[in-house]
C-alpha cells in the first residue's frame, strides 16, 4: 500500500513525512520525528499521556491517524518552552509539585495549556472536569489541580502586565 506524503506543522516548523494509512500520530511524532515528549500509556484513548494540541484542540494522538493531520498545526510539549524560559504551566507544575514519576506530565501540560485558553479563570471544579481525560498514577491529583490553578494565575498576571 502506498505511503502518504504529508506535511505537519509541528511546534511552528513544517515537517514532511511519508506515513502508512494505519500509522497513528503518536508513532509519527515519536518514531519518525523523534519528539518523544508525548508518551504512550494505554494506547486505548483512556490515559491522556499522548495528548497534543491539534489546530487549537486537545487530542489523544494514539487515536488519530497521522494521515488525518495533513496540514495541521500541532504543538507538543517540546514546543512549550521558549528561549525566554519555561511556559507558565511548566513553571507551575514544578513549583506546585504537580508530578512525581513524570510519565503523565507531557499530557497534563499540553491539556493544561489548552484548557487555560478555553477557560482562563477556572474554579477547582472546572479544573477537575477540564483535566478529566488525563490519568496520573502518582500524585493523587491534588497538586496537579493546584498547578493548573497557579498556572492560570501566572498567565492572567502576564497578560495584565504591560509588554516591555
Amino acid at each position: 500500500m502506498a505511503k502518504h506524503a504529508i506535511t505537519l506543522n509541528v511546534n511552528g516548523q513544517a515537517m514532511d513525512v511519508a506515513v502508512d494509512s494505519r500509522e497513528l500520530l503518536i508513532h509519527t511524532l515519536r518514531d519518525r520525528l523523534r519528539l518523544t515528549g508525548a508518551h504512550i500509556g494505554c494506547e486505548t484513548s483512556h490515559c491522556g499521556a499522548c495528548t497534543v494540541d491539534i489546530d487549537g484542540a486537545s487530542v489523544k494522538s494514539c487515536t488519530m491517524l497521522a494521515v488525518q493531520c495533513q496540514g495541521a498545526d500541532i504543538r507538543t510539549v517540546e514546543g512549550l518552552a521558549t528561549a525566554d524560559g519555561l511556559h507558565a504551566v511548566q513553571e507551575a507544575f514544578t513549583q506546585e509539585h504537580g508530578l512525581q514519576c513524570g510519565f503523565c506530565t507531557p499530557g497534563m501540560l499540553m491539556r493544561a495549556y489548552r484548557f487555560l485558553q478555553e477557560n482562563p479563570d477556572p474554579t477547582d471544579d472546572e479544573i477537575r472536569h477540564g483535566m478529566a481525560g488525563n490519568l496520573c498514577r502518582c500524585t493523587g491529583y491534588q497538586n496537579i489541580i493546584n498547578a493548573v490553578r497557579v498556572a492560570g494565575e501566572k498567565l492572567r498576571q502576564g497578560e495584565a502586565e504591560p509588554a516591555e
Binding site: 494505519r22 500509522e23 508513532h27 486505548t44 487530542v59 488519530m64 491539556r111 478529566a132 481525560g133
Partner: protein
Amino acid sequence: MIPGNFEYHSASGVDEAVALLAEHGENGKLLAGGHSLLPMMKLRFAEPAHLIDLNGIEELRGIREDGDTLVIGAMTSENAVIASEVLQRRCPVLPEAARLIADPQVRNRGTIGGDALHGDPGNDHPAVLMALEAEFVVRSQKGERREPANGFYLGPYLTRLDDGDLVTAIRVPIPAPDHGYAYAKFKRKTGDYATAAACCLLEMEGDTCRKVRLTLTNVGPTPLRAEDAEELLTGQTIDAERIEQAAQAAMSICEPAEDLRGSPEYKTHMAGEMTRRALHTALERARGG
C-alpha cells in the same frame, strides 16, 4: 497497538463519500471521530480494507433550526453539542448527555453521528435520540431516506443501516418550550460508559402528565424504550407512588449482561434508580425548578 492495513480515502463531499462506500461495499467503513472505530481496529474487532474519512466534509457539521425541527450534522463534535447555544435553549437534554460522555479530549474528536450510529449499547446518545423521537437522514446511491431512532437499534453493533448508507444529519423535533428533561447516568468514574442510565422527556399540564418519554442506556442489547412506564404516567398526576411504579416497570424490561460494571441484578437496580432520578429532575424542570 496499531490497526491492520487499510487504504485511506479522504472524502471532500457527501456524494464522493457515498460513491466510495458503494464502490467498496462491505469492505468500506466511514471514519468519523474514530474514537470507537480506531480502538476496535486496533483490537482487530473491525478490519475494514478501506476507510473513508468524513472529517473534510464541512456540510456535515453544525446545528440549525429548520421550522419546528433541529438539524444536527452527523459530524458535529460532542464539544460542539455542549457549546451550542441553540441546543441549550431548545433541547438542553442533548448537551446534558454529551457532558457525561467520555472526557474533553475524546469529546473534541467524537461526533454525535458516530456515537448514535455505532450501535454500541453503552453509547449515550441513542437512548436520548429515542426519547426525543429523532430521525436519521440517510444517504446512499439509492437516494435519501429517513430512519426513526425508535426501531433503529436491532442488537449490539446492529442497526437499520446497510453497507453503503451514510447518515448526513439527525433531525430532532423541538420539544415543547416548557418541557422537563433529564439524562441520569450512573458511572464508576469520569469517562466511563454507563453502568445504567435513563433519559426522561416530560410535558406537564398543571399536575397532570401530558406526555412522557422514558428510555434506558446499557441495560440490554440495545437502548430500551420503557413504554409500559410511559403509559403508567401519561394522563396521571405524577406523585411518589407513580414514579415508583414507573421505575419498577422500567426495571422489568432490563436484560443487562454481566461484566466488570456489575451483575444483572445490580445494573437493573441502578436502572430503576436512574429512572427515579430522571423523572424527579424532569418533573422539577417542567415545573420551572
